[in-house]
């Protein structure tokens, strides 16, 4: 029990929890916007990989860090456009298409990375984002290192939560997006194009996912590794359900996940008798448990995964 308090009372634990949550916040919000408009984006795992690779590669080739993030967002948005063209415009199966998009983006990212960075001993590094120093707050004892020494991208993630919540609940555009996800016929009857709304939502959401991926290579680490996303995209899809498609709860879910992940990482060396793989399994099993927990009262957008084809029943 003392170990528990030792871990939880350390400032580094709280810093790590928010750092681990950051890519998930971006990814979950990105998936959430798309699903609110009626489109499940299983391309997320691949889009995060593409964001991680393009963001890193741009900086590696000499771009400033923020330009790298912009490149990642554009790359993600472009892949999102492909997903939207196939699932929204043509109405193809969102499951299979999303998976195809993931396989395509992961393999294309690996291919391009290998093209520009030939195999060598250890992958090259860039100078990643440094923590933002806030006057007074960052220097507070314990609180400073625990909560106020994050990179700009983490602050951007928190800001994005507010922005997405505001967009969805306080603007006409948000209302239209939600309507496209609940009742596309009603949306069309109002003279609002379901195709445009869904395409826009998927593209914007994919850009967010890609920024989440880029956070890993330009802030959390300083290199790109193959398969570095490690299922984070799938976890985001689970978190959207856990959050009942609400941005605030999505933030909560991502933070809980980050705390749990930070906790198991710190617990590992303290219990040497237990194989480390059991600890690494925990986050995945926890995500499944979270899905089961909310399954009974999940309020799914009514038209989620239903293609809209005008004039057809």
């Amino acid at each position: 029990m003392t170990e528990f308090w030792d871990i939880v009372l350390a400032a580094s634990f709280w810093a790590a929890a928010l750092r681990l949550a950051t890519p998930l916040i971006f990814g979950t919000l990105g998936a959430l916007i798309g699903e609110r408009s009626g489109v499940l984006n299983l391309g997320i795992e691949g889009i995060m990989t593409a964001g991680a690779m393009t963001g890193w590669l741009s900086v590696h080739l000499g771009a400033p860090l923020w330009l790298g993030i912009a490149v990642a967002a554009v790359a993600g948005g472009t892949i999102g456009l492909l997903h939207a063209a196939l699932t929204v415009r043509l109405g193809l199966s969102q499951h299979v298409t999303g998976l195809g998009i993931t396989l395509f983006s992961v393999s294309l990212s690996s291919y391009l990375y290998r093209l520009y960075v030939p195999a060598s001993g250890s992958p090259p590094k860039i100078t990643p984002f440094a923590p933002v120093h806030l006057p007074v707050l960052s220097d507070l004892p314990w609180l400073g290192p625990a909560f106020f020494q994050h990179t700009a991208l983490t602050w951007l993630a928190l800001l994005t939560v507010l922005l997405v919540a505001w967009l969805l609940w306080r603007t006409p555009l948000g209302l239209a997006i939600r309507m496209a996800g609940e009742s596309p016929e009603a949306c069309e009857a109002q003279g609002v194009s379901v195709f445009s709304l869904r395409t826009g939502a998927v593209v914007a959401g994919s850009a967010l996912m890609a920024i989440g991926g880029a956070f890993l290579t330009t802030a959390a680490f300083d290199s790109f590794y193959f398969s570095m996303i490690q299922g984070r995209g799938w976890v985001c899809i689970a978190l959207v359900v856990f959050a009942s498609w609400q941005p605030g709860k999505a933030l909560l879910g991502a933070l809980l996940y980050g705390m749990f992940d930070a906790f198991q990482l710190r617990l590992q060396p303290l219990v040497p008798g237990v194989p480390y793989q059991l600890f690494l399994m925990m986050p995945y099993l926890l995500s499944i448990a979270a899905l089961v927990l909310v399954s009974r009262r999940a309020r799914v957008p009514q038209a989620l995964m239903q293609p809209y084809r005008p004039g057809e029943r």
């Binding site: 193809l92 195809g100 393999s107 093209l115 899809i237 499944i288 899905l291 057809e312």
Partner: protein, 348 residues
């Protein structure tokens, strides 16, 4: 642009669709090969020459296609009933590790008895690993896509735990790999001086069996009805839950069998890189075959050929071998569009 559903699909179109999809994918990927500064036609020639141009190449391709046929069937069976089993990779590893666990012991059984028992155990392990997601879907409505995807990571970690712990081979110079399966538990070779094993014949038999099951049995037709629409199937008196559960178990068993066959036929032991993505490639194979079990065989051979040939292309022309993954993933996307065009017509 307007899309219009076809009254009926010309049979020629159904055959032409996968061909057109593959050609389009190869043309699109030639841009990437060009980006690498390699001569496109020569590079493709090297790829297919390596994979299909010699006795060794062909047998290597068929060996590689063996697990792909089985995971492809696993995906095809499930997707046909609209059960989205994306956990084939995990079920593959469960099948493999179950066979390694049982097969490394000396049971004193003749091969003719031991091998079928091991394969059965592998299939059972794969099916059981899918039981959880299937029941969660049927009982609580938990989306099976996310649960099966997440369980893939759990499966790999479980295998890693076992081969670094209780199942570790002490003679492997510290490498994490399982104790090998005994001689009596291995599948015989099909052709001398090649790696092609009996598993390939088994995979072909499995394709025939699934084709029969789909077309000629009540279960196969019920699964199709469930895939076309759950409410309609329910009205027709089909026990939807039971059909979906059985379909899921069959799908998991096929993926588990793929793992079992890969261990008993080719590797003899399990490592965490036993599968270079056989599970995910199974989904591609199933879609390229338009979920037709007999189409799975040529689709798997195509995907296997790309992977076998890509290494030679990488050596000869300096194209990163990831091109193989790009080609098959692109083929999946172009195939989805091609399948769409068999059902719809584009009008101005």
């Amino acid at each position: 642009m307007r899309l219009e559903r076809r009254e009926r699909t010309p049979p020629l179109l159904l055959v032409a669709a996968p061909m057109a999809a593959i050609v389009t994918a190869l043309v699109l990927c030639s841009l990437l090969i060009g980006l690498a500064g390699a001569p496109v036609l020569a590079a493709y020639a090297t790829l297919f020459q390596e994979a299909l141009g010699s006795r060794l190449g062909i047998t290597e391709t068929l060996t590689r296609a063996t697990p792909l046929i089985l995971t492809g069937l696993g995906a095809a069976v499930a997707f046909r009933a609209r059960f989205w089993n994306i956990g084939l990779e995990g079920q593959f590893y469960l099948g493999a590790i179950a066979v390694a666990a049982l097969g490394s012991a000396d049971w004193g059984l003749p091969p003719a008895l031991l091998v079928p028992l091991l394969l059965l155990a592998g299939a059972l392990a794969g099916a059981l690993f899918l039981l959880g997601p299937a029941l969660l879907k049927l009982r609580l409505g938990v989306d099976e896509v996310v649960t099966t995807l997440l369980l893939n990571f759990v499966a790999i970690l479980l295998v890693s735990l076992l081969i670094e712990g209780p199942m570790k081979d002490p003679l492997a110079f510290g490498w994490p790999q399982s104790v090998p399966v005994t001689e009596a538990g291995l599948l015989p070779q099909l052709l001398a001086r090649t790696r092609l094993h009996l598993g390939f014949a088994l995979a072909l038999l499995a394709a025939l069996a699934i084709a029969f099951l789909n077309a000629r049995t009540v279960f196969g037709l019920s699964a199709r009805a469930v895939g076309l629409g759950t409410p309609a199937a329910r009205h027709a008196g089909i026990p939807v839950g039971r059909v979906l559960l059985l379909t899921a178990m069959l799908s998991g068993a096929l993926a588990g069998l793929a793992g079992a066959v890969e261990v008993t036929g080719l590797k003899g032991y399990v490592t965490t890189d036993l599968s270079p993505g056989f599970g995910t490639a199974g989904v591609i194979v199933a879609m390229l075959a338009s979920l037709n079990p007999l189409g799975v065989v040529p689709a798997a051979i195509f995907v296997a050929a790309v992977f076998v040939g890509a290494d030679a292309m990488a050596r000869a022309h300096g194209v990163p071998s990831f091109i193989a993954d790009v080609i098959v993933a692109t083929a999946l996307l172009t195939m989805l569009v091609a399948l769409f065009l068999t059902e719809y017509r584009v009008r101005r």
